[in-house]
């Protein structure tokens, strides 16, 4: 097995509301990404996906606060480090980020190249501008972006071009880990495809070592990442390889999510489309038992009282439910008939 590039252990972060209430939007989340691998994280709106993306960066600003856990990048634990040092040496350099809203991610009154200068000089203060330009031009061309983009303002770029510019800028210093928070959700299918291809290129060309891709589009993850994690109400409910997760889901929530996807593929088309009834719990007062209990088809009285841990069933697979996997599979099978 190859060594992990990013190892996150039991990371917990919380928001603080203006009334002082703490909301644990990321609750004891562990993620491990090996060299050359990618992990997708999916879930409903409000399940804590984007907060997890922010939390994984290891740098927090209000209203998000760090509570506990470790973030280890290539053997270096950054969660105990001075935030200023993290910012200067880690962010953008070791771990980088592609935001959800690339439309507004670039300063409207600054040319792309000047922003790249600022990014590079934030980490390597005395880099000459000429060198930066050469580096940026090379990197942009390698990723299939015309060098003219560097001399433009963000308003002069189309949506898809803007997103690709943001991606190229995020990886300008070849970070080890890249966290992409819904990088393609706001784009049309053509641009979406280009963006996804570009992100895969980053891995292939060795610009980044591992990727965490966050989205609500499960079919997309299936095509992009090696592993998939499903998040629900701030917790990971299931993890496995992309194939296993799509074709052999264990957790009732994963199963329900798969049932609510419109699948264009032949053979899967006749599967009935279902919605998950109910809404996720309020994280201000999370239920003491299983968080999915209220919406679960297989709920038992025990589910509401016993807190349930993520159960490792080997082969990189784990899920969070008290019902044994065989029983769940059996139930799914009988359901189909």
């Amino acid at each position: 097995m190859s060594k992990p590039i990013l190892e996150v252990n039991e990371l917990t972060t919380n928001y603080v509301t203006r009334f002082g209430d703490k909301i644990f939007a990321v609750d004891h989340v562990s993620v491990k990404v090996d060299d050359g691998k990618s992990v997708g994280i999916a879930g409903e709106s409000g399940c804590g996906k984007s907060t997890l993306a922010l939390s994984l960066m290891g740098y927090y600003f209000p209203p998000l606060y760090y509570a506990s856990g470790d973030i280890i990048i290539d053997g270096q634990n950054i969660s105990g480090m001075d935030p200023d040092v993290v910012r200067k040496t880690i962010l953008g350099n070791e771990i980088s980020y592609i935001p959800q809203a690339a439309m507004n991610a670039l300063n409207p009154t600054q040319k792309v190249i000047h922003f790249i200068e600022d990014v590079i000089q934030a980490h390597y203060p005395h880099t000459p501008k000429k060198e930066i330009y050469e580096l940026a031009r090379e990197r942009f061309e390698l990723l299939g972006l015309p060098a003219e983009v560097l001399q433009k303002y963000s308003v002069e770029l189309s949506g898809g071009m803007k997103q690709r510019t943001v991606i190229a800028t995020s990886v300008i210093l070849s970070p080890k880990v890249l966290i992409a928070d819904e990088p393609s959700s706001a784009l049309d299918v053509t641009s979406q495809k280009m963006v996804i291809k570009m992100i895969l290129d980053l891995m292939e060309k060795g610009i980044i070592k591992s990727l965490i891709f966050i989205t609500h589009e499960l079919p997309l993850l299936y095509n992009v990442t090696d592993d998939i994690m499903i998040m629900y109400a701030g917790q990971i409910v299931e993890r496995g390889s992309a194939d296993e997760m799509v074709f052999d889901p264990i957790h009732p929530y994963t199963k329900a999510l798969m049932g609510s996807i419109i699948v264009p593929e032949e053979g899967l088309r006749d599967v009935k489309l279902t919605a998950i009834p109910g809404t996720p719990p309020n994280l201000k007062n999370p239920p003491s038992g299983c968080r999915f209990a209220d919406r679960c088809k297989f709920v038992m009285p025990e589910c509401r009282v016993r807190s349930v841990e993520l159960r490792d069933i080997g082969g990189g697979r784990s899920y969070r439910c008290i019902i044994p996997e065989e029983d769940l599979r059996k139930a799914y099978k009988s359901e189909k008939r």
Partner: protein
């Protein structure tokens, strides 16, 4: 640069069109007023005159002077020709001085009072607002109520408060005038000193009001920009706060520049109150006497100047905006 040249030309054409329209309105509006202005003037001039032929003679003389007996198109041509020559006719309230002469002697007082006051108030207000947005906490909690209080005091209120405190009670500064009334304008030290002392109260009354409004505007713009997505993104790429703050304030400044152009353009209207209360010899006081004295030529000329100043200020604003805000440039080149 071609895109910018087109933008410039387009703005210039619009500027000229508005000038012509403003010019025409300034010509037509007084002539649409009910009643005959000449008759009104003559009626005032002729008070106490019992000689009907004399009144008739005065009336005819004025009719000829203003050309009101000619067709309106011809009047327009005469009007434009006169304005281009800088000839606005005679001032009625300060006869026999010409309107051009009256305006020339007072406008510089106004410009010298207002222009620095607006600039100082704008810079101070924006700096304070930016600081409040960045520091928040205590500084913000103290500055904001003060700014809201300052910006909501009517201009005459501020002038009177300063007048009562510093001129009447403390006697630090004189109550009125542009210089000591028994002095003759010269370049002597005493005169210059007197001008400086008389300058303070009207100056600060304008500065204080400007600070309040600008600080509030800048604070909310800066808070808005501080929460923008690009700020978060720049942070996650490791850029220092000191640099991000520079992005934020540059962007927050853009709408504030509109405010600056607006106050510079409407300078004379804004001057009215401060100048009247401190009897400052500027264009504001002149306009007041013109209005009170029914001095139509003077009012008309002053209105034209105000209009032109607003138009020029906005034209300059558009030009500067095209240079500093790429969004405008991009929108124009499409």
């Amino acid at each position: 640069m071609k895109g910018y040249r087109n933008y410039f030309l387009k703005q210039l054409v619009w500027f000229l069109v508005t000038v012509v329209v403003a010019f025409t309105l300034n010509f037509i509006l007084p002539r649409l007023m009910p009643g005959d202005p000449v008759a009104a003037i003559v009626a005032r001039m002729a008070q106490g005159m019992s000689n009907a032929t004399g009144v008739q003679a005065v009336y005819e003389q004025y009719t000829e002077l203003f050309g009101t007996d000619k067709p309106i198109t011809e009047q327009y041509v005469i009007y434009i020709r006169n304005v281009l020559r800088g000839d606005f006719g005679y001032s009625i309230s300060q006869y026999p001085r010409t309107v051009a002469d009256v305006i020339q002697s007072s406008i510089w007082w106004t410009v010298a009072l207002q222009f620095p006051a607006i600039i100082v108030g704008w810079i101070l207000g924006n700096s304070l607002g930016a600081l409040a947005a960045y520091l928040r906490k205590g500084f913000d909690k103290v500055l904001m109520p003060i700014s809201i209080f300052l910006s909501n005091i009517p201009a005459f209120g501020m002038a009177i408060i300063l007048l009562v405190i510093f001129a009447v009670n403390l006697r630090w500064f004189p109550t009125s005038g542009g210089y000591q009334f028994d002095m003759v304008p010269s370049t002597s030290f005493e005169f210059v000193w007197s001008v400086i002392v008389h300058y303070q109260l009207p100056f600060w009354s304008i500065v204080l009001i400007t600070i309040g409004g600008q600080a509030i505007g800048m604070r909310s713009m800066a808070i808005y920009e501080l929460n923008a997505d690009y700020v978060k993104y720049a942070r996650f790429l490791g850029i220092k706060d000191s640099k991000i703050i520079r992005y934020v304030f540059r962007n927050a400044m853009l709408p504030q520049i509109t405010g600056l152009a607006l106050s510079i353009g409407t300078m004379i209207g804004g001057a009215l109150v401060a100048e009247i209360i401190f009897s400052y010899p500027g264009l504001g006081s002149t306009m007041l006497t013109a209005v009170l004295g029914g001095d139509y030529p003077l009012i008309s000329a002053a209105t034209l100047i105000v209009t032109l100043m607003v138009l020029v200020a906005f034209f300059a604003l558009e030009i500067v905006y095209g240079l500093i805000d790429p969004r405008i440039k991009a929108a124009q080149s499409e």
